[in-house]
């Protein structure tokens, strides 16, 4: 896959860091606004009505009208949109129709779980990618490189849900050593802090492996590419010329210089991470954003769908911004003016 734009195109034109920051922030804000608007109208264009949620219950027409009024669904769409925006401006995401509690509360509950899963997955992903990527980059085209490249291709080709199922099959059924769902054991409260941490780790292992392995393939290729590129630069040649050992050149100098694009890649991988987390959380009953999203979509919980989408977009845009800033920091022209 091609490189994301923020890696190829950096800040141009405006030389001041403050101006650059301001411009990027404005752009990010506008983007978020566009996403919010788009998703709002998309959700409301769907056939049916959010009060269909109550259709399964035996409420009468009058009760239903009461509810529609209560949730503001009887107002014109434009007005609903403006009210939603106004609330949003005050940091209000509204009430979940199905759970009848603030969307913000649900987000706040689910986010830490997803963050933890993402951390575990990133550890797996970058652990594998760095180790194998650098190993492959030592002798491009060599036997190890060929094998690792093929392996990475196989990994990027796996359906993420299938990896997850196969891990469950292997480690929870055939050789039942790890828990296949949830974040903690039932009586985790009664354990010592260390015991609780160990318990959490055991639960985290399979989901992070599933998500991490899925993402590792493409990252591995990226690491390999950037290390090969760095190894060809004058800087490395100079290091070699100073008589440093090849291993030291590779691991210290090569890696250090490949690090910036890697962090950028990381910041830009949020969408993929969230996509994978959605499936992983559903399979492992991990109580995070993905599972919440799935439930919200199934119950047509419009405010919750909007809140979750907006929040995910926020995270992704934040990642993009981060990547841009890193790019700016690494760009000598910007640095000069700082």
């Amino acid at each position: 896959m091609g490189l994301p734009p923020a890696l190829t195109g950096g800040p141009r034109g405006d030389p001041s860091v403050a101006g650059f920051l301001l411009r990027r922030l404005t752009a990010s804000f506008l983007l978020l606004f566009a996403v919010a608007t788009g998703v709002f109208f998309l959700v409301h264009a769907a056939p049916g009505d959010p009060t269909d949620v109550f259709e399964g219950q035996r409420i009468n027409r009058e009760q239903r009208e009461t509810l529609r009024h209560l949730y503001g669904l009887d107002r014109p769409l434009g007005e609903q949109y403006l009210r939603w925006l106004a609330a949003l401006a005050q940091g209000e995401l509204g009430l979940s129709l199905a759970q009848q509690r603030p969307v913000a509360t649900i987000l706040a509950e689910a986010f830490p779980a997803t963050l933890l899963l993402a951390t575990g997955a990133i550890a797996v992903e970058f652990g594998i990618a760095l180790l194998l990527g650098i190993a492959a980059a030592r002798r491009p085209g060599g036997y190890a490189d060929q094998t690792i490249r093929l392996g990475s291709l196989v990994f990027v080709s796996q359906p993420p849900f299938w990896i997850a199922l196969m891990l469950v099959l292997l480690f929870a059924h055939l050789w039942p050593v790890l828990p296949a769902s949830h974040m903690r054991s039932v009586d985790a409260d009664l354990l010592s802090p260390a015991g609780r941490a160990w318990d959490l780790l055991r639960h985290l292992l399979l989901p992070s492996l599933a998500l991490g392995l899925y993402n590792a393939g493409s990252t591995l290729r990226f690491v390999r590419g950037s290390v090969i590129e760095v190894m060809g630069t004058d800087y490395i040649r100079a290091a070699r010329a100073r008589g440093l050992s090849e291993r030291r050149v590779l691991w210290v100098h090569g890696l250090r210089n490949a690090l910036t694009p890697l962090i950028q890649l990381f910041a830009l991988s949020f969408p993929q991470l969230l996509n994978g987390a959605l499936l992983t959380e559903i399979i492992f009953a991990w109580p995070g954003l993905g599972r919440a999203t799935f439930a919200a979509v199934l119950s047509r919980d419009y405010p919750l769908i909007l809140g979750l989408t907006l929040f995910s977009a926020f995270v992704v845009i934040l990642g993009n911004l981060l990547a841009d800033l890193l790019q700016a920091a690494a760009d000598p022209r910007v640095r000069r003016h700082a």
């Binding site: 049916g48 269909d52 949620v53 109550f54 259709e55 399964g56 219950q57 035996r58 409420i59 009468n60 009058e62 009760q63 239903r64 009461t66 509810l67 209560l70 009430l95 199905a98 759970q99 009848q100 509690r101 603030p102 509360t105 649900i106 509950e109 689910a110 469950v168 929870a172 059924h173 039942p176 296949a180 769902s181 949830h182 974040m183 903690r184 054991s185 039932v186 009586d187 559903i282 399979i283 009953a285 109580p287 599972r291 919440a292 199934l298 119950s299 047509r300």
Partner: protein, 551 residues
């Protein structure tokens, strides 16, 4: 408490949502199958961990759609005036005192007086009185609360507080379900919850959790969404020496098969319902046990009578004959956990006519009937047609209900053998309800629970086409008369002959094709004693459960 009728879903659709993890009412084999009962004296203390595939939505069940697990929790935390017993296999269901220790009728049968127990207190020490009963009724019928079972209160004119222990229900008319309707809905804490105006209730689902109280045997200690809820003993519960357990943990695991794995690993002690395949794994373990009981649910294909395709009773009978219901039951409910459905009055109910036999699987006869009605394969494409139109329709079922989706797949194949094209389509539950209610459907696999009052009007009376659950639009004046007459009996036991006539007419008319009745299989670790999961509730008399210490 007549659990299934209390579920605020239309009976015929109700279990579409809950099955396969439903709870229900009425029972045949209560705990006698050597249940994990009675080897020794009950011991106090200990924790039982239970596993569920769904999760409660909130603490106040007036404003939340009911889920099976939600009711289990609500009914342990709050209570009813009287408790309906799961004993309607041999005779009509009976009632036992709960918050009310006795009740009596006025001579004209329009006033029902309850006498509350004297020692009732909420978990915060405030007495529970007749004021709470009256206020709970006010909440139930308040328009802004929009309780989905409010219609059950439509014949109650007033609830009058006579003294702190005495409360009177005034009815506008005399009918069979008066006690059930008065008893409907839990008694809620007025002193705590009236602080939030009714108009604000639906905006503050979490407020009730923050201001939670209990009058039942347990109170809610903590609740972590999507993970677990912990119930602990309510020390102020009125029943002496109860409950035995210190804690009951509810774990929420959406995936049924990993739930079973946790039971096998000993992480979980109790699952309210396991699949037949999982039950097999459970039975292989000596420390575990499966407790089966027949559910109060019948599952049927509802044919939309307003479509010309299904307007003819003979054609519907041909469809029934063309569906190999035994094969469906053997495949989906192996090991005798299901049986072919015959009638809405389940084979485990006292009023069922045991002489009635299900229609057999007879595709040849089905073809003959259809041919006699003009349905022939005129163009040789393997599908029946008449007047240029093919016998082809969409068969709906709801997402998440594996057995019904599976049945649709099997029915599709079986009907193809006689030249009928049924295309299965899976919809979200709410969408399915919306589509069937409005009549925009051909056929749908739905489930319904029967009520201990055995009143089938809600499903089969022509007046229920408008505002009931006769969404398949079956209309028979003869049946309407029978239904009205049966419901008008003051004593339901007298209705038996009428109920038999109703069964026979439904059997002839096949307004729906009854597919199966099935067992619910509760799975439990033998360290838990005196558990009696039954149709009323999986947690029935949770206060009586006790555990041996973990080995």
């Amino acid at each position: 408490m007549n659990r299934m009728r209390r579920l605020p879903l239309p009976p015929l659709l109700l279990l579409a949502l809950l099955a396969p993890h439903l709870a229900g009412c009425g029972a045949r084999e209560e705990p006698q199958q050597g249940g994990p009962a009675g080897d020794g004296t009950p011991q106090r203390g200990g924790t039982v961990v239970t596993g569920w595939t769904t999760e409660p939505l909130g603490i106040n069940d007036l404003i939340f759609p009911t889920t099976a697990v939600g009711s289990e929790v609500h009914f342990r935390v709050f209570q009813h005036l009287v408790e309906e017993q799961p004993d309607f296999a041999e005779h009509p269901a009976t009632f036992k005192p709960q918050l009310a220790e006795s009740w009596e009728w006025s001579d004209d049968h329009k006033v029902l007086t309850f006498h509350l127990r004297k020692n009732l207190v909420w978990s915060d020490g405030v007495p529970l009185t007749a004021e709470d009963v009256r206020w709970s009724w006010q909440a139930q019928v308040h328009p802004a609360v929009a309780w989905d079972s409010a219609y059950m209160k439509e014949h109650i004119r007033d609830v009058e507080v006579v003294d702190p222990q005495t409360v009177r229900f005034h009815f506008t008319r005399v009918y069979a379900k008066q006690l059930l309707d008065a008893n409907e809905g839990l008694i809620l804490p007025k002193h705590a919850w009236s602080r939030l105006p009714f108009e604000k209730w639906r905006e503050n689902g979490t407020w009730f959790f923050e201001n939670r109280l209990a009058a039942g045997p347990f109170r809610i200690e903590s609740w972590t969404a999507q993970q677990e809820m912990v119930l602990v003993r309510n020390e102020r519960y009125w029943e002496k020496e109860r409950p035995y357990l210190d804690r009951v943990v509810l774990r929420f695991v959406p995936d049924a098969s990993s739930l079973t794995t946790q039971l096998l690993n000993g992480e979980i002690d109790f699952i309210a319902q396991v699949s037949p395949a999982d039950a097999k794994r459970v039975r292989e373990r000596p420390e575990l046990q499966v407790i089966p009981f027949w559910s109060n649910l019948f599952v049927a294909v509802a044919w939309n009578h307003s479509r010309p395709l299904f307007a003819d009773a003979e054609v519907r009978r041909a469809l029934t004959l063309a569906i190999d219901r035994r094969s469906i039951v053997e495949t989906l409910w192996p090991g005798g956990t299901g049986r072919v459905g015959i009638s809405p009055l389940l084979q485990s109910v006292w009023a069922h006519d045991k002489t009635l036999q299900p229609w057999p699987y007879d595709p040849a006869e089905a073809r003959k009937i259809l041919a006699a009605r003009g349905w022939k394969d005129g163009d040789g494409d393997g599908l029946l047609d008449r007047g240029g139109k093919k016998f082809s329709f969409e068969l709906l079922s709801n997402a998440g209900n594996q057995a019904r989706n599976d049945a649709a797949v099997m029915i599709q194949q079986q009907l193809r053998q006689v030249g009928i094209e049924a295309t299965p389509r899976i919809l979200e539950f709410n969408t399915l309800v919306a589509d069937t209610r409005s009549g925009h459907f051909d056929a749908a696999i739905t489930g319904a629970t029967i009520d201990t009052s055995l009143d089938l009007s809600g499903n089969f009376h022509s007046r229920s086409i408008q505002d009931g659950d006769n969404f398949f639009r079956y209309s028979s004046p003869a049946l309407d008369r029978l239904l009205d007459e049966a419901a008008g009996q003051k004593n339901i036991a007298d209705a038996a002959p009428l109920l038999h006539q109703i069964e026979h007419q439904l059997h002839r008319d096949q307004p729906v094709t009854f597919l199966w009745e099935s067992q619910r299989l509760a799975a439990i670790n033998r360290r838990v004693h005196d558990a009696r999961p039954n149709l009323q509730s999986a947690f029935f008399h949770l206060q009586d459960w006790w555990v041996s210490p973990r080995p």
